[in-house]
Symmetry: C2
Subunit: 308 residues, 2 copies
């Protein structure tokens, strides 16, 4: 099948002393994915701090765009701080934030409730945006008994179900979300993202939000609206905030089907780093149709190759 | 879109005094779905016992074909007994049994293990077929911590993952199944069935095996082999056992996309009953492309219309 975009036809170039200079000069902002790019689990990837300091010193704008909805922007800023990197909340665009912004963009009635399958971060972003989230962590230990006359009660004022990564997924939450989507008229079904797996720890990949989202698709026979990468929903906020054309931005990520596709969909330059889920052989495999502009081992190669 | 089969083009006929006689005379065996046909949750549907007794008295063979994998054939026979109906294990074809039979048909090496996301019934059928199942109910209370250096250990000798309805679904099981399918070379991914929802209790529908199966599809980016309805895998066993041509069988069920499709795929006559998940308006809706030969309110209409 022919892919129509220029980026997808060209083959990715390895980052070199020459190409990194061309990339560096052609962009004013770097958009970084976090998991597999900045850190793996709770461990910073080598050389990230120095690279970020260098890019700030050179006047580049930095943005962190993560599909991981488990934390709010505030909680992400804290995680950066705990790892020794200063990042402001304004520089962070998480899919938890995107879910709340989507509801605002749709003029979601504030008197309606939002049922959350996912982490505290989603509830916090909903609250900051003026919405009432229910569910989430507090439903993590709830159990159901499949007995006669056991009526599962749910809130008929729920007008949206937001599904993200949820390591405390259970049948109670699945039934709650399913009933709302199937029974409450007009109930929205929002996926923070659909990543199949992610580096929730540094040693392994684990089921991502794509797992919980698919579960709800399976029981509701509905498809969600996605607000995280590769959907370009977050780009509208970025463009407004940065006043930089997307062609003067470079998206740096470890995933072809979310990060690189997001960058390409938005018209950014793209750099794949091999420090996360994608290996060089995945990238160069003939079955792969998503080609970034550039690729390199890790973020710190930018610094190493441009080196002062 | 044109549907090529005769049954799908014709519109379902309501069961009448005339049509029930034609149906009754043209078949030697009745295949019944259970949930929504024989019972709802733990409650028998009105008139089922008398209808079954009548059909046996008239010399019809009876078979119970259920997608619900939560019980083994032995456990289903017990459930029938507890509801006052005598049914032998040989008359029951559950998707838990079908999963074990699929492994046997594929010459699955008995020294390999089978990881189960689902109920005790699957483990029991695996054991009866000479296979070693692990997981299932005993993993229902296991929790994981997403911490650095926390390596999730799993058995590399798992050669198949069977996924069915699991009201004790959790992240531990999702990660276990996902790792086996993604990491163990050649690992099979078997779905007992993909029903979106089911009458797990008499008052409500709940997420079905389709929910858990979709979750594993979401994290593994793989599609399973399905052994329950509408796949005709179980029909091979039925044909062998009954020595009746499928054209002399009538599949009775409450679901268009599993029961009626299963019957049609196998060349059986089909009767939809409206005592389960499908309403008359679902059936008659122009968007519905699956038309049974006949439909009626409930199984006991057969007796009422033929009545002695």
């Amino acid at each position: 099948m022919e892919t129509p975009t220029k980026s997808a036809q060209a083959t990715a170039q390895p980052l070199t002393v020459d190409s990194v200079r061309a990339l560096f000069d052609s962009v004013d902002a770097f958009l970084f994915d976090c998991d597999g790019v900045i850190w793996k689990g709770d461990k910073l990837i080598d050389g990230v701090t120095q690279t970020i300091d260098f890019l700030r010193f050179k006047g580049k704008k930095l943005v962190f765009v993560t599909n991981n909805s488990f934390r709010s922007r505030r909680q992400y800023a804290e995680k950066f701080r705990s790892l020794g990197i200063t990042v402001s909340e304004d520089e962070i665009f998480s899919s938890s934030f995107a879910a709340a912004m989507y509801l605002r963009a749709k003029n979601f009635p504030p008197e309606k409730k939002v049922y959350v399958i996912g982490g505290e971060g989603i509830l916090e972003e909903l609250q900051l945006a003026g919405f009432t989230g229910i569910g989430g962590p507090e439903d993590g230990d709830k159990r159901v008994e499949l007995k006669s006359n056991n009526l599962f009660e749910y809130d008929t004022s729920v007008g949206a179900v937001v599904v993200g990564l949820d390591p405390h997924i259970n049948y109670y939450k699945l039934q709650y979300g399913t009933l709302c989507i199937r029974q409450n008229p007009g109930c929205l079904f929002i996926a923070t993202n659909r990543d199949a797996v992610g580096h929730m720890t540094d040693l392994q990949e684990w089921p991502g939000a794509g797992c919980m989202v698919a579960a709800i698709c399976g029981s509701t026979e509905r498809e969600p609206v996605e607000v995280g990468k590769p959907s370009t929903f977050m780009m509208d906020f970025l463009l407004q905030k940065l006043s930089i054309s997307s062609s003067r931005m470079c998206m740096v990520g470890d995933r072809l089907d979310t990060d690189i596709l997001f960058g390409q969909n938005a018209g950014c330059k793209t750099l794949l780093v091999l420090s996360g889920v994608t290996s060089e052989s995945n990238l160069l495999d003939t079955s792969n149709t998503i080609q970034p502009d550039y690729y390199s081992n890790q973020v710190s190669d930018i610094l190493k190759l441009l080196g002062p």
